[in-house]
């Protein structure tokens, strides 16, 4: 098995403003959103990041996508450090998350070409790839419609397309089916399976256990910034149904009974 991602001791803290402290009922001015997180993912595998709201999944993914810098620790993506070689890392990954939005003003056609140029993809290759992806997701009919006029589902599909314009080896999906209807969610899930078959490596965060069982080879459970369990789905669940195992781990870690 070939390592594609090796995360070592990633730690990230955020300062919390006085106002935020009050608002969120916190008594500390610093939040450790990721606390010494380490894990490894292998080529062609789907790695699932799980954890309750505010656990730190998105924070870890943002560090991997080099949007934010870790306070300490590092991660190697295809042998490149997210700290030292952030630009190389960015050109070899795709990142899809809810917070990143496409500019409403442009059409899918323009947007695709723009990202293709940003990734320095030869025109011919880009054209082929656009045809293929637009066809697959039914975007071709809307290629010249402003993104602001696309339906939510179409937008999400197009966001997915823009995150893989450059055919990256590793794709990071932060809750890719969040807020989608069942039809669109299935399109996205099916596409993830297809990517996996193509040999792409996927890092996925989700709250949907079904998706975990269907897709993930390996998972990590993050609670309160810490990686509390990590391994293959079988290793983590220990033969139990995954849901049961998750709640068990959660209760043991937090002391809360679910």
């Amino acid at each position: 098995m070939q390592e594609i991602l090796s995360v070592s001791n990633l730690t990230k803290t955020f300062k919390v403003s006085k106002k935020q402290q009050k608002l969120r009922n916190l008594n500390k001015s610093v939040i450790t959103a990721a606390n010494d997180v380490s894990f490894t993912s292998y080529k062609g595998e789907v790695f699932g990041l799980l954890g309750p709201n505010g656990a730190g999944k998105t924070t870890v993914m943002r560090m991997l996508a080099t949007l934010i810098n870790p306070d300490s620790g590092d991660a190697m993506v295809g042998g490149k450090s997210i700290v030292q070689n952030s630009r190389e890392v960015r050109s070899s990954i795709g990142f899809l998350t809810n917070e990143l939005k496409l500019d409403d003003f442009f059409t899918p056609n323009y947007t695709f070409d723009f990202f293709a140029e940003m990734h320095r993809i030869p025109k011919q290759t880009a054209k082929q790839r656009k045809q293929e992806l637009f066809g697959k997701f039914g975007i071709d009919k809307f290629a010249e419609v402003k993104i602001s006029n696309l339906s939510q589902g179409m937008r999400q599909k197009f966001s997915l397309v823009t995150s893989i314009v450059h055919n990256p080896d590793m794709i990071i999906f932060d809750e890719p089916t969040n807020g989608l209807d069942v039809i669109t969610a299935k399109v996205v899930t099916d596409f993830l399976i297809e990517l996996k078959k193509e040999g792409k490596s996927i890092i996925l965060s989700t709250h949907i256990f079904e998706l975990v069982e269907k897709l993930c080879d390996r998972i990590g459970i993050i609670i309160d910034g810490r990686m509390v369990a990590c391994g293959t789905v079988d290793e983590v669940s220990g033969g139990r149904p995954f849901e049961e195992a998750f709640f068990d781990i959660y209760s043991k870690t937090t002391g809360e009974v679910v």
Partner: protein
């Protein structure tokens, strides 16, 4: 094929900005429109205030008026009625608006002029002219007579001086304030500065803070582009917009200023040289670059367009104060070191050009200082873009 990401980004930014009709209007066209409307309104208003009836005869009092002067007037065919008087009466009449002009010649002027040797270095024969700036007729008479003398002097190979010893303002016998001209003078640079500021305000917060707010900046941050290129593309494309806005401002100034300066008598003439026009253009552009860069930095600090606009609005006061400062200083300041103060320098350089006492050095300092300031802010912005707190604070 491997075009630099900077190029690709600038292309996208420009497509974005120019594709948005609202931005094109409020960022470029509105400035010209505002300026044109304001000038036209003010021009009409002042035009009513400052025009002389066509069949008006100017009442000019003179002391020691030589033969040659009476001849000069009758030859010129100007509607001037000359009255010989003593200095005190003449002065009083001009101050009381009973006469338009008071001219005092050195006694025995003609023979003094004839006998004056330029090489001798001794004082040349004198002519002193007093007017009353509260009346357009007086100002009109003043400029008429001065022109006449200039012609005359030229023909006589500079054998006498006009108002050589005193500050021009001391020859103004108006005791009230010369309201119209100082108002106009201070208002023009201020208006230019304000409309250009407003133009930049329409774009920079939208383009930088707006993209942060909407989360569209993030999608660009995950491409391999250098953060500094993203910042540069932003500021360069906003600058293109700003420069176009400045050109429009300049154009509308060219169209509307002649309306405002309906008369030469208020101290302005609207026949500037090509190089003066170029200086005005250069000044507006260098000023707009300061605004673009400054507002870009402010917008990068802000989390939303609204916040950026709030941060930036106190600056309009600074712009106004700079713009109006030439009213307080009574025209453009002459000391060169003042021209190292951005925006203030723009206002005073423009005032200088309008009133005809601009210095090339001061204009050059202004343009260079403003460009340097813009470059410094640009450098700051590129640095800021490498900070995750600035570009991605969620």
């Amino acid at each position: 094929m491997n075009r630099s990401s900077l190029f690709v980004l600038i292309k996208k930014e420009l497509t974005r900005l120019f594709g948005d009709r609202r931005l094109v209007f409020s960022g470029i066209l509105l400035q010209g429109l505002l300026l044109y409307v304001m000038y036209s309104v003010m021009g009409n208003f002042m035009g009513d205030m400052i025009s002389v009836d066509e069949d008006y005869t100017y009442k000019v009092y003179a002391v020691n008026a030589p033969q040659s002067f009476s001849m000069l007037i009758s030859e010129s065919g100007m509607p001037i009625e000359l009255t010989e008087s003593d200095a005190a009466t003449a002065r009083q009449n001009v101050a009381d608006n009973k006469a338009d002009l008071f001219i005092m010649f050195s006694s025995d002027f003609d023979s003094q002029v004839a006998g004056y040797d330029i090489a001798s270095g001794s004082q040349a024969p004198q002519i002193q002219i007093w007017h009353n700036a509260s009346r357009i007729e007086s100002l009109e008479a003043d400029s008429m007579v001065k022109n006449l003398f200039r012609e005359f002097e030229r023909s006589m190979v500079k054998k006498f001086d006009i108002n050589a010893d005193l500050d021009p303002q001391e020859y103004d016998l108006n005791t009230g304030m010369d309201f119209a001209s100082s108002f106009t003078m201070s208002l023009i640079p201020m208006l230019i500065i304000m409309v250009m500021y407003q133009g930049c305000m329409a774009i920079a917060p939208e383009s930088i803070a707006g993209e942060k707010e909407r989360g569209t900046l993030g999608t660009i941050l995950v491409t391999p582009a250098k953060r500094s290129n993203i910042a540069l593309a932003k500021i360069l494309s906003i600058s293109v917009f700003g420069i176009l806005g400045a050109v429009v401002t300049f154009g509308s100034m060219m169209l509307s200023l002649p309306k405002m300066f309906v008369s030469e008598a208020d101290g302005f003439t609207f026949d500037y040289s090509v190089s003066e026009y170029l200086c005005i253009l250069l000044l507006t552009i260098s000023t707009v670059l300061v605004f673009v860069a400054l507002l870009s930095v402010l917008s990068a600090y802000a989390k939303s367009t609204k916040e950026a606009t709030t941060h930036a609005s106190p600056l309009i006061i600074v712009g106004m104060v700079c713009g109006m400062s030439s009213m307080i200083t009574g025209g453009a300041v002459s000391e060169f070191y003042y021209y190292f103060i951005p925006i203030f320098n723009s206002a005073h350089s423009l005032t200088g050009i309008f009133t005809g006492d601009a210095s090339t050095l001061n204009i050059a300092i202004t343009a260079l200082t403003n460009t340097a300031v813009a470059l410094i802010f640009t450098a700051v912005l590129t640095k800021m873009f490498s900070s995750e707190r600035i570009v991605f604070d969620k």
